[in-house]
């Protein structure tokens, strides 16, 4: 696994000058999107992309910086969603407590973080495939528990009519406000992950990933770092989970069913887990395939019910041509371009 960030040599210019032009273009596109995209694209395609991107980002943080592939992130997100439905408002009046938003949002995030931390504390004692197995087992247990527990989780049907509060006189479920809400949350989560990855904690975590024994010898508490990484990732997943429930206006056990849990892994892997932007790219690919593959099949005169085939082939193609996801493709292309430069002077040949 490549190091996530490479230090750049030379004189450091002003931070604003260091932002590549591509980022400015991306920001411009994203900010002006409501002007030229329809409501469906805003709410459904982009909103969902940002939400899944955030949940996959939490997995990317654990896998890319911590070397821990956790399948619990979707369950943590669903836990936050459930807690919001239980402590806040929903169509199930006799379970939901109807607390105000400034109370139920922190409660939901904190409980989800605690849940993620406990799972993390169990999982960090294992390595590699065993981490995947233990988190998958807990995710499966969470799914079946929510499906059969009626007193807290309202079993099979879950909670409906869970909508965001009307803050500042804005209905946040309208396409444009919701688009900016998810965009804002996604940007903040992205920025925080980038910041943490360069902060002492993030660097220590990458050290733990590469050589835990040496880090322990240096005096770092390896287990504590890993568990803290789970806590941090859980908060990001929890924010994604809350937005997901607002988007669907409901939550049920299927939200965190095994297919959904695996989807998050697929998104992260397809996008690439070496950088925080990867999960968002993966999420966009996933959402586009998920949304439009039946139409593509029908356009070619094939039966729409085989749409999963197209999704599978799409993912297979990405993983086959680039085992490190779409980001890997990009990086290989860039390095090939760089190779054309003179390695000593940096001048183009």
């Amino acid at each position: 696994m490549a190091l996530a960030e490479r230090p750049r040599p030379g004189v450091q210019p002003l931070w604003i000058e260091r932002i590549p032009a591509a980022w400015w273009a991306l920001a411009l596109i994203l900010l002006t999107m409501p002007a030229w995209a329809n409501n469906f694209i805003l709410f459904q395609v982009m909103g969902w992309t940002f939400i899944l991107g955030m949940i996959a980002l939490s997995l990317m943080f654990l896998a890319g910086y911590g070397g821990m592939v956790s399948l619990i992130q979707m369950s943590v997100a669903a836990m936050a969603g459930y807690m919001m439905a239980i402590f806040g408002n929903s169509g199930m009046g006799d379970i939901s407590m109807g607390l105000p938003w400034w109370l139920y949002l922190p409660i939901a995030i904190v409980i989800a973080a605690i849940f993620g931390t406990i799972v993390g504390a169990l999982a960090v004692r294992t390595e590699g495939i065993y981490t995947i197995m233990i988190t998958l087992a807990i995710a499966a247990a969470f799914f079946y528990f929510t499906r059969q527990n009626y007193t807290i989780f309202n079993g099979y049907s879950g909670f409906n009519l869970v909508v965001p509060p009307e803050l500042f006189g804005v209905d946040w479920r309208q396409p444009m406000p919701f688009y900016y809400l998810t965009l804002g949350c996604a940007v903040i989560c992205y920025a925080v992950v980038v910041y943490v990855s360069r902060a002492p904690f993030g660097l220590a975590l990458q050290g733990v990933r590469d050589n835990p024994r040496r880090m322990a010898a240096l005096g770092f508490n390896v287990t504590a770092h890993r568990i803290a990484a789970y806590t941090f990732a859980s908060v990001i997943a929890a924010i994604g989970g809350i937005l997901l429930v607002w988007q669907n206006a409901q939550i049920a056990p299927g939200t965190a069913g095994i297919p959904a849990v695996i989807d998050i892994l697929v998104i992260a892997v397809v996008g690439g887990i070496s950088r925080p932007i990867g999960p968002f790219i993966g999420a966009l690919i996933y959402v586009l395939l998920r949304t439009f593959s039946p139409d593509v099949l029908l356009a070619f005169g094939l039966s729409g019910e085989r749409f999963k085939l197209l999704i599978g082939l799409g993912f297979l193609a990405v993983v086959f041509f680039s085992p490190d996801g779409v980001l890997g493709l990009w990086e290989r292309w860039k390095s090939r371009r760089d190779r054309r430069r003179d390695p000593l002077t940096g001048a183009d040949e």
Binding site: N38, Q44, G91, Q148, G155, N160, Q250, G254, T255, P259
Partner: protein, 420 residues
């Protein structure tokens, strides 16, 4: 050859005016499960909508019918997502679907956000969908899970003379709802439920329940389906299989009847109730089955239409019928269309169906009995039917509401027996 040429030319001549009116289309969105346990049934749903459109000549109310399929995986999340795509991206006028219970409840809530469009339920059967806070633009032309259980209770009391039963049913919403339909009818006919057992969905060990079943009952009601039912029957026959059985709606379906092993033989003579009877002698049903069999090659369909297929067929029929009535006028937020859907009874292959003020169907429930088919297998034979079963199972709205929503302890059998 010449004939074909003439035919195609005259067809073209017929189609030209239709082509000129091509802007005048009505768009159906078929919201159907094509992933997961119900994928096969869902595909049958799509086939049946195609059949209904074909039978109508591809036209309704003078407009050409177009349709878009939106696949779901039976989770409410995906259902709402796909419904949104149908409305916002594909611009459909009418949604036909969904297929399963929790999807139905999610669609009821979603329907409230699209008051200008109309949703006609596919085959989802949760009671709450049209009972608790129903949506103005959500119509259901199939019976719900509780109605499917009705008629069976009085049948076993009157025809079989079984008045004391113990029940074993699946511990989730369909299990409760389907059981409620049976129990309301059974208790009001003077039956007594001695003990209720609830088993989790997908359990494989029924030993504890079987051992705890009381001996002095006339029959055992089984509200489980699929592999759970097969597992139960296996273990039950190993333990002696002495008592009569009564089946819930999903108990004696094709998965169980065609399963391997001798355990299913415990089912012989078991009455069940449900939305359809395969050997229904009603000409409307026979005609429909024939049309279905003729429309699709044998390897691309079921031997006869499935429950899911019939549900979607009836939904499409209802939409086409109402569109014809109003000459395809969908202006005014589909006001006229909804009025046309609601007003007169619809003739379906399952008999006439009428809607109540919650836009929920009242119709016929069929009582079937499992019998040997003479070739070593088992089949369902229709032994009776209950007509005009309404949403409240013949009770007044107040009484039905007072009874509470289906759960482990609802309905209270003794209270119903006193009232009845």
């Amino acid at each position: 050859m010449k004939k074909a040429l003439i035919a195609s030319v005259s067809m073209a001549a017929l189609l030209v005016p239709a082509g000129a009116m091509a802007q005048d289309t009505v768009k159906f969105g078929i919201l159907v499960a094509l992933e997961g346990a119900f994928a096969e049934g869902g595909a049958d749903g799509v086939r049946n909508v195609e059949l209904a459109i074909e039978q109508a000549g591809g036209m309704a109310g003078g407009k050409t019918i177009e349709y878009v399929v939106a696949p779901t995986d039976t989770t409410p999340d995906t259902t709402v997502r796909q419904a949104r795509k149908l409305i916002e991206q594909d611009g459909v006028d009418i949604i036909l679907g969904p297929l399963s219970g929790s999807e139905g409840i999610a669609m009821r809530d979603y329907a409230k956000t699209i008051p200008e469009k109309t949703v006609i339920n596919g085959i989802s059967g949760a009671l709450e969908t049209t009972w608790v806070d129903p949506a103005e633009n959500f119509f259901r032309f199939n019976l719900d899970g509780a109605q499917w259980g009705a008629g069976l209770g009085s049948y076993v009391v009157e025809e079989k003379g079984w008045t004391k039963v113990a029940t074993v049913a699946a511990d989730y919403s369909f299990g409760y709802t389907n059981f409620l339909g049976f129990a309301v009818d059974f208790c009001r006919s003077g039956g007594e439920i001695v003990e209720r057992f609830w088993v989790p969905l997908g359990s494989s060990d029924f030993g504890g329940v079987i051992a705890a079943l009381p001996d002095d009952v006339d029959a055992i009601y089984l509200g489980v389906g699929g592999t759970d039912a097969i597992n139960f029957l296996n273990q039950y026959s190993q333990a002696g299989a002495e008592t009569n059985l009564i089946g819930g709606t999903i108990m004696a379906d094709q998965t169980v009847l065609t399963s391997r092993g001798r355990a299913k033989e415990a089912l012989i003579g078991t009455p069940t109730s449900g939305a359809l009877a395969e050997d229904n002698p009603d000409p409307a049903w026979q005609e429909y089955v024939k049309a279905y069999q003729d429309a699709f090659p044998e390897d691309e369909r079921f031997p006869s239409p499935s429950l899911f297929g019939v549900g979607y067929y009836v939904a499409a029929l209802a939409a086409i019928d109402a569109l014809n009535e109003i000459d395809g006028d969908l202006s005014d937020g589909q006001e006229k269309f909804r009025a046309a859907l609601a007003d007169d009874p619809l003739d379906t292959p399952l008999g006439p169906v009428s809607l109540n003020e919650n836009r929920q169907a009242s119709g016929t429930v069929f009582i079937n009995e499992v019998q040997e088919d003479g070739a070593g297998g088992l089949k369902n034979v229709m032994v009776g039917k209950a007509e005009n079963v309404n949403q409240t199972l013949g009770m007044s709205m107040e009484d039905f509401r007072a009874m509470g929503l289906p759960s482990r302890d609802t309905p209270d059998c003794a209270a119903l027996a006193d009232a009845g």
